[in-house]
C-alpha cells in the first residue's frame, strides 16, 4: 500500500511544478544564506582563535559552507527539472535523473538537519576549547617580547574590555600566574626578591589584575593591586566590593556569546531544513505522479502521486534485498575475475599406466 497517496489532475500537476520551481529558486537563496552563516561563524571563531585550543570547532562552519554550496547546486538543478516538468514531453529527458536526484536531495536534507544539530551540540566542545585557550593566553600574557606571543597581552586586554570579563573563571585567576614580565621587575629590590623566593616555581605572584579588568561602572577609581588587602585602601572591603572589577570570567562571557550565535544559526538552519523537506516532498509527489502519467500514456489524465510505493517496512525490506543482491552479484563478479585455469579440475599424471603409487609404510 502506497504511503500518503494524492490524486493529481493535469492542472494540479502543472501548479505543483510551477510552485516547486519558485520554491527551488527560494532554496537557492536559502543555500546562499547557509553559506553566509557558515562564513560568518568561521570568521567569528577565527577572530578569537588565539583564545581557543586546537579543536574541531571549524567543523560546524565548514559543514554549513559545504551544505550551503550544495544547496545552491541541487536547488538550481531542481528548478530546471520542475520547469521542464510542466511539459510531459520534456519530462522524459529527466525521467532517469529524477530518482537519483531525489535520493541525493534526501541525503542533502539530512545533512542540513545534521548541521543544525551540530550547532546545538557544540557547547561542551567549545567550553573545553575556551578553558584551555584562555588558560594558555593568560599564562603567556607577560611574554610581549616572545615571537608568536607578542600580541597576546593586547588580545586578552581587548577581550576583557570588550566582553566585560576578567580572568578565566573570575579575577582570582590572575593571582595564580605571573602576568608581569621579569623585564619590568627590579630584581635588586627586596620586595621583588622576597616574592620570588616565597614561591616554589620562582614566579612573581601578587593579588593584582591588569587594568582591563577594571569596571567602568565603579564609582571609585579602580583598585588593581593588593585587591585582597583591605588595609591597603581607604574605605574598602574586598569581600563586599562588587563594582570595582568585572566579576564574570571570560570563558563564561565567550561561551555565552558563541552559544547565542550557535543557537540563532541553529534555529535558522532548522527552518531551512523544514523548507528543504517540503521541497523534497513536493518533488517526490511530482515525480511519482508524472511517472504514472507516462504509464497511462495520456498527458491530460489524472494520476496518483505518493511518497513511497509500498509501506515503510516493505520499502526498507526491498531496499535491503537490493543491497544484498548487489553484494552477491559483486561476489560472483570477483570470483569470475580469477585466473581462468583455476576453474578446471586438476588432473595428475602418474606415469604411462596412470596408476597412483602405493603409499610407503613410513607415510602412514
Amino acid at each position: 500500500m502506497a504511503v500518503l497517496p494524492v490524486r493529481f489532475t493535469k492542472t494540479k500537476r502543472d501548479k505543483l511544478a510551477q510552485v516547486l520551481w519558485v520554491l527551488n529558486w527560494i532554496s537557492v537563496v536559502t543555500g546562499i544564506i547557509l553559506f553566509s552563516l557558515g562564513i560568518f561563524l568561521k570568521v567569528e571563531i577565527y577572530k578569537r582563535q588565539d583564545l581557543m585550543a586546537e579543536g574541531q570547532l571549524q567543523s560546524v562552519p565548514n559543514m554549513l559552507i559545504v551544505v550551503g554550496l550544495i544547496a545552491c547546486v541541487i536547488n538550481f538543478l531542481g528548478g530546471k527539472i520542475c520547469y521542464d516538468c510542466v511539459d510531459s514531453s520534456r519530462f522524459l529527458h529527466w525521467k532517469l535523473v529524477m530518482l537519483p536526484y531525489i535520493i541525493c536531495m534526501f541525503f542533502f536534507t539530512l545533512s542540513v538537519l545534521v548541521g543544525a544539530l551540530m550547532c546545538y551540540s557544540m557547547h561542551s566542545q567549545l567550553e573545553e576549547s575556551l578553558t584551555l585557550g584562555l588558560r594558555d593566553a593568560m599564562r603567556y600574557y607577560k611574554d610581549t617580547d616572545t615571537p608568536g606571543r607578542c600580541f597576546l597581552k593586547r588580545t586578552v586586554d581587548l577581550l576583557q574590555m570588550q566582553f566585560q570579563c576578567c580572568g578565566n573563571e573570575g579575577f582570582r585567576d590572575w593571582f595564580q600566574i605571573q602576568w608581569v614580565s621579569n623585564r619590568y621587575l627590579d630584581m635588586s629590590q627586596r620586595e621583588v626578591v622576597d616574592r620570588l623566593r616565597s614561591n616554589v616555581e620562582s614566579k612573581y605572584l601578587m593579588d593584582g589584575v591588569p587594568f582591563s579588568c577594571c569596571n567602568v561602572n565603579s564609582p571609585r577609581p579602580c583598585i588593581q593591586h593588593q585587591i585582597s588587602n583591605n588595609s591597603a585602601h581607604f574605605n574598602y572591603d574586598y569581600q563586599t566590593e562588587e563594582l570595582n572589577l568585572w566579576m564574570r570570567g571570560c570563558r563564561q562571557a565567550l561561551l555565552q556569546y558563541y552559544t547565542n550565535i550557535m543557537h540563532s544559526i541553529g534555529l535558522m538552519v532548522l527552518i531551512i531544513w523544514l523548507f528543504e523537506l517540503s521541497v523534497l516532498t513536493g518533488v517526490r509527489y511530482l515525480q511519482t505522479s508524472l511517472e504514472n502519467v507516462l504509464r497511462q500514456g495520456d498527458p491530460e489524465c489524472e494520476s496518483d502521486g505518493w511518497l513511497l510505493e509500498n509501506s515503510f517496512v516493505e520499502t526498507a525490506r526491498s531496499n535491503f534485498n537490493i543491497i544484498k543482491h548487489l553484494s552477491k552479484f559483486n561476489q560472483i563478479n570477483t570470483a569470475s575475475n580469477r585466473d581462468p585455469n583455476t576453474d578446471r579440475p586438476s588432473t595428475a599424471h602418474y606415469g604411462p599406466d596412470n596408476v597412483p603409487p602405493k603409499p610407503h609404510p613410513a607415510d602412514g
Binding site: T144, D145, C150, K153, R154, D157, L158, M161, W179, V180, S181, R183, Y184, L185, D186, Q189, P210, F211, S212, C214, V216, N217, P219, R220, P221, C222, Q224, H233, F234, N235
Partner: protein, 352 residues
C-alpha cells in the same frame, strides 16, 4: 530674452516626462536616505551630548531631516506631475500649483547646500563645544555621588576606551584636576594631607590618570600613577614612553570622528542636491513645453521649453515689483480694515 530655450517634439516631451518620473522616484529614495542620515547624525551627536557644551552643531542634522522629508514630498508630487503631463487633459489642473511648487522646491533644495556648507563651517564651533564639555566632564569625573553627575565617570571612561584617547588635549589634563573623590581619600594619612595642603585650592592633585587611559597595545603592565617619576618604576622613562597611555586627546578624537562623518555625508548630500536640481530643471522644461500644448487641438505639435521667460535680471526686477505691489496692497488692506467710527472728531471740520 528667454533663458536656455529648447525645442521639444512630442516624442522628446514623452521621453522627458518618463525620464523625470523615474528620476523623481530615485530622488524620493535619496530623500529618505538624507532623512536617515540626519537621524543617524543627530543620534551620534546626542550620544555625546554630555561632553558637549553647546548644541549649535545640531542644526546640520535638523536641516538634513527637514530637507529629507520635504524631498520625499516634493518628489512624490513631481512624479505625479510627470505622469499627468503625458495626458494633456489632466495637466491643466497643475498650472496654478506649479509656480508655488517650484519656489518651495528650490527653497528646500538650496537648504541641502546650506546644510553641507554648515557642516564644514561649524567645525570650530564643534571643537569649542567639545573643549568646554570635556573640561567639565573631567572636572566632574569624581562626583559619582552627586545627583546629575553620577554617570559622568562612566561616560568619560567609556569615551576614553572607545575612542582610544586620554584627557581633553592629552593625558596631562588629568594632572590639573582632582579626579579622586574625597570619599576615597584617607585624611589621616600624612601623604594625603601634604598633597592637599600643597595646593592653593585644597585639591588632591597627582600625576596619575584613570585606568581608561591605559593603552592595551603597551608591552608592559599599565603605569597609571607617579607618571612623571622615573624612579618610581623600573626600566621606565616617561619622556620616551609612548605606548603606556593613549597620547591623543579626546577632543581631537571626537572632532576627527564627527568631521569624518560629515566628510562622508557631505558629498552624498551634494549628489542629492545635484539630482534634485536636475529634476527641477527638467520639470521646469516639461512645464513650459506643456503650456504650449494647452488649448491646441493637435497635442503632438512641437513646443518650446525654457527655464525663464525673460533674462535673470528682468525676472528679478519683475519679481521685486510684484512683491512691492503685494506689500502696498497689504498696507491698503490694513488701512481699510480700521473701524470707521474710531476717530470721528478727526474727520469733521473744526467749528469755532
Amino acid at each position: 530674452m528667454v533663458l536656455l530655450k529648447l525645442k521639444f517634439p512630442f516624442q522628446k516631451r514623452v521621453r522627458l516626462a518618463q525620464g523625470l518620473w523615474l528620476l523623481s522616484w530615485v530622488a524620493m529614495f535619496s530623500g529618505a536616505v538624507t532623512f536617515a542620515t540626519g537621524v543617524f547624525l543627530k543620534t551620534e551627536l546626542h550620544r555625546r551630548s554630555e561632553v558637549m557644551h553647546s548644541m549649535d552643531i545640531h542644526i546640520v542634522p535638523n536641516l538634513l531631516m527637514a530637507v529629507g522629508l520635504a524631498s520625499v514630498g516634493i518628489n512624490i508630487c513631481a512624479g505625479k506631475v510627470c505622469q499627468d503631463s503625458l495626458d494633456p487633459s489632466r495637466f491643466p489642473r497643475w498650472k496654478t500649483l506649479l509656480l508655488p511648487f517650484f519656489c518651495l522646491s528650490v527653497f528646500f533644495t538650496s537648504l541641502l547646500l546650506v546644510a553641507m556648507i554648515l557642516s564644514y563651517a561649524l567645525q570650530p564651533s564643534l571643537e569649542e563645544s567639545l573643549k568646554i564639555g570635556l573640561k567639565n566632564g573631567i572636572r566632574f569625573y569624581k562626583d559619582t555621588d552627586t545627583p546629575g553627575r553620577c554617570f559622568q565617570k562612566e561616560t568619560i571612561d567609556r569615551l576614553q576606551i572607545e575612542f582610544q584617547c586620554c584627557g581633553n588635549t592629552n593625558y596631562r589634563d588629568w594632572f590639573e584636576v582632582q579626579w579622586i573623590s574625597n570619599r576615597y581619600l584617607d585624611f589621616t594619612s600624612k601623604e594625603v594631607k601634604d598633597r592637599v595642603r600643597s595646593n592653593v585650592d585644597g585639591r588632591y592633585l597627582l600625576d596619575g590618570v584613570p585606568f581608561s587611559c591605559c593603552n592595551p597595545a603597551s608591552p608592559r603592565p599599565c603605569i597609571q600613577y607617579s607618571l612623571l617619576d622615573n624612579n618610581a618604576h623600573y626600566n621606565y622613562e616617561y619622556q620616551s614612553e609612548e605606548l603606556n597611555l593613549y597620547n591623543r586627546g579626546c577632543r581631537q578624537a571626537l572632532v576627527s570622528y564627527y568631521m569624518g562623518l560629515m566628510n562622508t555625508i557631505g558629498p552624498c548630500v551634494l549628489l542629492v542636491f545635484l539630482l534634485q536640481m536636475a529634476i527641477l530643471v527638467g520639470l521646469r522644461y516639461l512645464q513650459t513645453a506643456m503650456e504650449g500644448v494647452l488649448g491646441q487641438e493637435n497635442v503632438e505639435i512641437e513646443t518650446e521649453g525654457y527655464i525663464l521667460e525673460k533674462g535673470v535680471k528682468e525676472t528679478l526686477l519683475e519679481t521685486k515689483e510684484k512683491m512691492m505691489k503685494l506689500l502696498q496692497f497689504a498696507q491698503v488692506g490694513d488701512a481699510s480694515a480700521e473701524t470707521p467710527g474710531s476717530e470721528p472728531e478727526a474727520e469733521k471740520p473744526a467749528t469755532a
